[in-house]
Each structure stands twice: as structure tokens, then as C-alpha cells.
């Protein structure tokens, strides 16, 4: 049994815990020592004593919660030892600075993937396969219906709709951290060279990405721009703004939403958008299963999401697997 050899790590409802070091991975409440995979609010919270994370994640946390003392910057691949446990961070391909946590002690290796994806993303380092004994994965999209199409094709579809619609603008709802910047970068790759207009709630994080060297092209705040001047343009806003009074200032917007959930019609309809765009920052079913086959751990632990299907799949492929049912990890606003 692998689990017998890793008594130094515990899967608690509140998160992954290292008792010897008294450290938590992505804890849901303030703790003395935290290792944080990435800047999304269900993983990174303010108020910890010491925080090991990438420089980008620390910067994002500071931008969201104000300056946090106790930040311990770790570069990808750099190793530290916390009370006998070897800790290093490796790219997860989820958002800027996102990392998998590799933990090693007594010859056993555990990798906590955090959120990750394998699909193309020009705004962050690509996922790295890290061999391990136990792979702790998420399963947000852990159902075989979630095989997300190439994001570039979705962007092309949106631009085609904009070009075919006279007198309208394209309003894309995208989560402010990660999705908004990825959508902008994909628009640039798709040949969209015009300035892109931003809702106030996504400005700060776009600037942060740019400060970290991510090319996003010319961005302008939408505030203060006359409706006429926005005809034929692309506007990026957080999902909550799509049905908000705020959107009334735009010229007959084609409301689009960029999310992995847009795959399923009922979910897309719930959002009330005209143009669902299937663009996910979480691994789809094909990415999850491919990753498990490449990592080939001895055991798979599933933190949250549609864990029953993924655990069942592991059984079909002779992998030992169990669901951890971590609390506080609802479906990320994708």
C-alpha cells in the first residue's frame, strides 16, 4: 500500500495537510503555513502566516487581498525542504503562475495538481508531466461529455459572428483571472489586431499579466467610450456584468460567454447568452484521462468535481483511485 508509506501526508476535508511540517496545500482558511497552487480565490486566500507559491501567484494574491507578509517565492523546479518534506512547484498550465506541488519524503512522491489543463494557452507555462506515486487531481470536467474543442476555433466562430453582424459589438464574458487574458491572447492569435475594450473589473489583472511579459496588445478601458465608437469592437467583461445594467451602454452587444460549461446546452442557456464559447481553463475529460495515462501514478486521489466518473474510469484502467470530497471546492466559476 502506497498510503502506508506516506503517513506524512493527510487528505483532510479542509485540504491536503502535512502534519510534520504543519503545512497545508491550498487551505480554505488562514493557517500558519500554506503552499498555494494558483491565484483563484478558492485556492489562494489571504491571511496565512507563511506562503510558498510562484512569484506570479504571490503577485496575484497581493493584487486581490493587498500585500501579504510571509511570501516565500518558489521558481518552477526549485526545491525547498519544509521540516523534512521536499517541496517543488511545476507548471500546471491553468493560469499565470499556476503550479502543481511535488512533495517527497521517505522515497515516496506525491503530486498535488491543483487546477490544470493541457490545452493551448499563450498566457502561461504549459503543464509538465511529473512522475509520482500518488497523483492528486481535480475533476471539474470529469465526465466524458466534456471534450472541449480547440479554443482557437471557438474564437474564430465568435469573430465570424461579429463580422456578420452589422451595427453590433462582441461582448465576451470571461472570468477575470486567467480566462479574460487567455481570451485576449487567443483573439490576437486569431488575427484580431484592433484595440480590445475592458470592463473595469478585468483591467487590473490584465495589467498584471502584461507586467509579467504576457503580450495582450492594445487594451483600452470601456468606461468613457461612446457607444457608436464600440460598433464592430470586442469588449471583455466578467460574467456577472453580462446581464448587468452596465452592458446597456454597449451597441446591441452579441453576448458571448467563454467557459468550459458552455459545452452543455442547458448550462449555456442558464447563462442566458446568445453565443456560448467553449473555452476552458480546466482539463476536459480527454485531458484528465490522458494525463493519468502519462503520469501513471500508483494511486489517484480526486479532490473535487465529477469524481465518480473519473474514479470509475480509473477502475476500468486498473488504476487505484479514491475520491477525497474536499470541502470548499465547488465548481470554479470557469
Amino acid at each position: 500500500m502506497v498510503a502506508d508509506r506516506i503517513g506524512w501526508l493527510k487528505a483532510e476535508p479542509r485540504g491536503i495537510y502535512l502534519p510534520g511540517a504543519d503545512a497545508w496545500v491550498d487551505p480554505s482558511q488562514p493557517v500558519a503555513r500554506a503552499i498555494v497552487t494558483h491565484g483563484h480565490s478558492d485556492h489562494a486566500r489571504g491571511g496565512h502566516g507563511m506562503v510558498w507559491a510562484t512569484a506570479e501567484t504571490l503577485a496575484i494574491t497581493a493584487a486581490r487581498y493587498g500585500p501579504q507578509p510571509g511570501g516565500m517565492r518558489l521558481a518552477y523546479g526549485e526545491k525547498v525542504e519544509i521540516e523534512g518534506v521536499g517541496v517543488s512547484l511545476h507548471p500546471a498550465g491553468h493560469v499565470l503562475g499556476s503550479a502543481q506541488v511535488r512533495l517527497e519524503r521517505d522515497g515516496a512522491v506525491v503530486v498535488v495538481s491543483g487546477d490544470y489543463k493541457r490545452a493551448h494557452d499563450p498566457t502561461c507555462a504549459p503543464f509538465e508531466v511529473v512522475p509520482c506515486d500518488v497523483f492528486i487531481t481535480e475533476a471539474t470536467f470529469g465526465l466524458p461529455v466534456f471534450v472541449h474543442p480547440p479554443a482557437g476555433a471557438e474564437i474564430a466562430r465568435a469573430l465570424a459572428r461579429l463580422r456578420a453582424s452589422e451595427g453590433r459589438c462582441l461582448l465576451i464574458g470571461a472570468y477575470a483571472l486567467g480566462k479574460a487574458q487567455r481570451v485576449i491572447a487567443l483573439l490576437r492569435e486569431g488575427g484580431w489586431e484592433r484595440p480590445i475594450y475592458l470592463h473595469g473589473a478585468v483591467e487590473k489583472l490584465c495589467a498584471l499579466y502584461q507586467a509579467h511579459g504576457v503580450e495582450l496588445g492594445e487594451l483600452r478601458p470601456v468606461a468613457g467610450v461612446k457607444a457608436d465608437a464600440l460598433v464592430g469592437e470586442v469588449v471583455i467583461a466578467p460574467p456577472s456584468a453580462l446581464q448587468d445594467r452596465w452592458s446597456r451602454r454597449l451597441p446591441d452587444p452579441i453576448t458571448a460567454m467563454a467557459s468550459g460549461w458552455m459545452m452543455v446546452r442547458a448550462r449555456a442557456r442558464q447563462r442566458g447568452v446568445e453565443l456560448p464559447l467553449v473555452i476552458s481553463d480546466h482539463a476536459g475529460w480527454d485531458e484528465l484521462t490522458r494525463t493519468l495515462l502519462e503520469v501513471r501514478p500508483r494511486e489517484v486521489w480526486v479532490t473535487h468535481g465529477r469524481d465518480d466518473a473519473l474514479v470509475h474510469w480509473c477502475g476500468l484502467h486498473q488504476m487505484k483511485a479514491r475520491a477525497l470530497h474536499l470541502v470548499g471546492r465547488e465548481d470554479e466559476d470557469e
Binding site: 461529455v145 442557456r269 447568452v273 465529477r306
Partner: protein
């Protein structure tokens, strides 16, 4: 098939009537024959492809995908066609057939050939095309756009009168090559003279200000509480049509059989009660939708048509004549018909508004729901034209509303969708005006539950959103303004008094009409 699948997707996410109209009109303009004709047939529900049952689709996917993974996926997605479209594991190179070719293949399917043919087609398509194919093949195409809206889109695209399209509709068959040729100005108007066509009904406005009516210009009749119907006989071919133009001949064969001369009559289907009164509406309602009815039902609930207008006398179109002239001719014609199946809706004598109001307040038969007031000089014109016909309902505290959401009940009813949220129109959107969970019989509840399941467009936990297609007559004690609801109205003690399968959703009541009932 590619374009049609895209249209279905876009319709599924479009909100509002105008957006849907624009999408359909654009597609009809972009697409060539016969594909656009088959598409129009699919959107109007005229495509009948019997060979593919949902069970077959299910068997196909279960042979491909692990059963547990299938079940979990289906539970999550909630729609079989969509689950299969997303899960289908094969991808083969090959042409995706056009919509016309697809329909041709589906029409030729037999039970034994269907699995292999469908499997191969699914493998050549992307997921949105697979979804469209399965919906098409199982006859479950629901885009929340009724048949009338699709015909309106045709009219908009080609700049023709929708009432003319409605009239031609029952004389042409998919893929409607001659209809499109006519629309595009490349062919004559289809000649349907010798066919037993549906003619669009003339409709009435609710009477809002009786005191402003010039009474002398109007004639009055009872408004009977039955099913509006049109009896048509042309060159010996006979039909009975409902309000929305559905052929209901099979549900009321005794009426059709009694037609023995060429004519088109407008009237109310009623059940003959004892002592010359009118019988139960329920018995009528039970017959609607049946392809055939048994002898017992016909004997126990004898049906007749109370005629109130004449559209064609022999082959002569009399719709342009004044009402009074039409009614004179009608009375003479009805006198020559089988008296067991047809009678004449007599006019009422009332010189003053007071006398009229008295009649309305104490009608001689419980099956009377009010008065009809018709301008004596009016021609018979399709639709609801201002100033010509009015209905003055006796009990103003009923409204025809459209079912919007259904929720599972509690206790004994927990397996039924039994809590119904209904709405009234404001412009082209429906606003919820109330919620009712009683008033219907057990049989009606069963029927409603099945209808909800078959017409679901979205699910939110225990609540289903349904296609906006079913009219419910809602009775209530009173109505008041309320800040709690978006419509600004709240009903007191609402109950479902009747299911109106015969009434198109577009003709349900408006929020304005309900606001007029606030005391």
C-alpha cells in the same frame, strides 16, 4: 446539414421572437432547395420520420460507451440526443450529407437498416450536427419556435403576407418547391382552388370600453364555450380544422361525415347535453389529439357544430361580403344540413347596452362564456383586426396563460410535475403572472406531466422550463398589483380551469389585459 445544425444551435440560444424570426428568415434566404423546404418542414413540425425511436439511439450509444459513464453523463446532461451527440466516440472521414439527403435517408430507413445507417452518419458529423440529426430522426425537434413563427419567417424573408402563407400552407407539401418559387417571384401562386384548405380564422378583441361602442353597428351572439373549428368540404373532400390549422377530422368523424355539400363554415364544436343544453367541455377536450375515436365516446358525447359564419358558399369565396349577408346565406345552408350535427348560432336582440349587459350577466346556459359583438358590415378577414369583432366575456376572471415552468410536487405528487408557473405576453416576451398547483383532474395531471417531460427545454434542479406552447385557462378570485413579480401583478387563488390544446400560445392573453382586471 451543417447550416441547419448551426441554425438549431443559434435558435436554441436566441431570446425573443424577433431574434428567432431573423435567424430563420436569414437561413431560408441563404439555403437552396430542397434543403430549405425540409428545414421549414422540420421547424413547422410537418416532418414525420417514424423509423427511429429513442430506444434505438440509446442502444447505439450503449454499445459504444461504458454503461456507468453513459449513465453519469446522461444524468448530468439531461437530454438523450445531446448526451449521445457529445459522447459519440467515432470520427470517420466522409461527406456530411445535406439536410435534403439526410431526410431522404431517414425516410427510407427500416427497423433493421436503421442502426448501421445511423451509426455511419453519426461518425461523419461533429457534435452539433449529431444533435440535429438525432432530434430530426426522433421527431423531437424543439426550438421554442412554433409552426406559425416559422411561417412568419418565410413571409418576412420573401416579403409576402403571412395570412396568405397560412392559407396556402395546408395545400402544399414538403419540401414546398412551388411555395418557395412563388415567394421568390419565380413562379405562380400555388393553385389550391380544388383543395379542402384551412382558411385562417377571424379573431376578436376583448371588449374594453363597452360604453364607447356604437351598438347599432354591431350584432350580438352568445359566445359558446367549446372548440373553435372550421368545417371544409371541397369537391367532395372534407376536413375539420382547429384554431391553429391542425386537421382534427379524425377526432370528430361524425361532423366530417355529415358534410354533404361544398362549403367552408366557421363555428364552435359543442357537446349536446340534455334538454337542448350544451354538455361537458371535458368530453370535447378528451377527443382532441386522437387520431380516431371509439363508438362509445361518440354515443355518450354527441358532438355538433354551432355555425356562426360562412367563408365559402359552394366554390364561391364570400369572405368579402358583409357579415349580415354571409349570415343570411349561412342560415339557409345550415337549414339544409343534418340537424343532428349542425345548427345556426342565432343573433340576440338588445337595443341598449343595459339590455346587453343583462343578457351577459344571466345567460340561459352555463356553457355560455359571454357575448360576441360583430360589426354588421365586416368582411371576414384573417387575424384580429381592430374595430370589427369583440368578445365580452361573462366571467372576466379567467385568463388564457402560457405554461412556462413546471416543478415537481410534494408527497403523493412527488413523481409528477404538478406546480405550474404560467405567463402572459408583454410584447413578444412572456412574463410570469402566477403559479397554480390544482384545478385539474388526475387524468389531466397525468397528461400535463407527460407534456412537460416531452417539451422540456431546460432544467434547474426540480424545475423544468418548457417550450412556450401550451395554453392553460387560469381561473382566479381577483388580481392585484404586486411589486414581487416582474409582471407587476399577483393573482389570488389561481387554479388551472382548463387545458387549451386548441389554442396557439401566441394568442394567449397579455399582461395589459390582466392589468385591466385589477380591481
Amino acid at each position: 446539414m451543417k447550416g441547419f445544425a448551426e441554425l438549431l444551435d443559434a435558435l436554441g440560444f436566441a431570446s425573443g421572437r424577433n431574434a428567432k424570426l431573423a435567424l430563420m428568415a436569414h437561413w431560408l434566404g441563404e439555403t437552396a432547395d430542397p434543403d430549405r423546404g425540409w428545414g421549414l418542414a422540420a421547424l413547422t413540425g410537418e416532418l414525420d420520420l417514424p423509423a427511429v425511436k429513442p430506444a434505438l439511439v440509446r442502444a447505439l450509444i450503449e454499445a459504444e460507451v461504458d454503461p456507468v459513464l453513459f449513465r453519469l453523463s446522461y444524468d448530468y446532461v439531461g437530454d438523450l440526443a445531446e448526451t449521445v451527440a457529445l459522447l459519440w466516440p467515432h470520427r470517420e472521414e466522409g461527406e456530411v450529407p445535406s439536410l435534403g439527403e439526410t431526410v431522404e435517408v431517414l425516410q427510407a430507413l427500416t427497423r433493421s437498416s436503421a442502426p448501421a445507417v445511423l451509426r455511419s452518419m453519426l461518425s461523419r458529423m461533429d457534435s452539433s450536427q449529431r444533435y440535429a440529426l438525432i432530434k430530426l430522426a426522433t421527431g423531437a425537434l424543439r426550438v421554442g419556435a412554433g409552426a406559425r413563427l416559422a411561417r412568419q419567417a418565410f413571409a418576412n424573408r420573401f416579403g409576402v403576407d403571412v395570412e396568405v402563407v397560412e392559407e396556402l400552407w395546408h395545400g402544399v407539401a414538403a419540401p414546398y418547391a412551388e411555395l418557395f418559387a412563388w415567394g421568390a417571384g419565380k413562379g405562380p401562386r400555388p393553385d389550391l382552388e380544388a383543395k379542402p384548405l384551412f382558411r385562417p380564422f377571424m379573431l376578436a378583441h376583448p371588449l374594453e370600453a363597452p360604453e364607447s361602442l356604437d351598438l347599432a353597428a354591431f350584432s350580438a351572439e352568445w359566445k359558446w364555450d367549446g372548440i373553435r373549428a372550421m368545417a371544409v368540404c371541397r369537391s367532395g373532400e372534407k376536413r375539420l380544422y382547429s384554431r391553429d390549422g391542425n386537421d382534427i377530422s379524425g377526432s370528430f368523424p361524425e361532423i366530417v361525415a355529415a358534410l354533404d355539400q361544398d362549403l367552408v363554415l366557421d363555428g364552435e364544436l359543442l357537446v349536446r347535453g340534455v334538454d337542448g343544453t350544451v354538455g361537458s367541455f371535458n368530453a370535447l377536450q378528451q377527443r382532441l389529439g386522437r387520431k380516431s375515436v371509439g363508438a362509445a365516446l361518440m354515443r355518450d358525447y354527441p358532438v355538433f357544430l354551432r355555425a356562426y359564419d360562412l367563408l365559402f358558399d359552394g366554390s364561391e369565396d364570400v369572405r368579402g361580403l358583409p357579415l349580415e349577408v354571409r349570415r343570411e346565406r349561412l342560415q339557409a345552408i345550415v337549414a339544409g344540413l343534418d340537424a343532428e350535427r349542425f345548427d345556426f348560432s342565432h343573433g340576440l336582440q338588445a337595443e341598449t347596452l343595459e339590455a346587453l349587459a343583462e343578457l351577459r350577466g344571466s345567460p340561459p346556459d352555463p356553457a355560455i362564456e359571454g357575448l360576441m359583438l360583430k360589426r354588421r358590415t365586416s368582411a371576414y378577414v384573417a387575424g384580429r383586426k381592430a374595430g370589427l369583432w369583440y368578445k365580452w366575456k361573462r366571467d372576466a376572471r379567467v385568463a388564457d396563460c402560457v405554461l412556462m415552468y413546471a416543478q415537481r410536487g410534494h408527497g403523493k405528487r412527488s413523481s409528477f410535475y404538478s406546480d405550474f408557473t404560467f405567463g402572459a405576453w408583454q410584447g413578444e416576451t412572456l412574463l410570469p403572472v402566477g403559479k397554480a398547483y390544482f384545478g385539474f383532474t388526475d387524468a389531466e395531471l397525468k397528461w400535463l406531466d407527460a407534456w412537460v417531460r416531452a417539451h422540456t427545454t431546460a432544467r434547474f434542479g426540480p424545475v423544468r422550463e418548457v417550450e412556450k406552447a401550451l395554453v392553460l385557462e387560469v381561473a382566479f378570485d381577483s388580481i392585484a398589483t404586486s411589486k414581487r413579480h416582474k409582471s407587476g401583478l399577483a393573482m389570488r387563488f389561481p387554479r388551472i380551469s382548463r387545458i387549451r390544446q386548441d389554442k396557439p400560445a401566441a394568442e394567449a392573453d397579455t399582461v395589459d389585459m390582466l392589468r385591466g382586471m385589477v380591481i
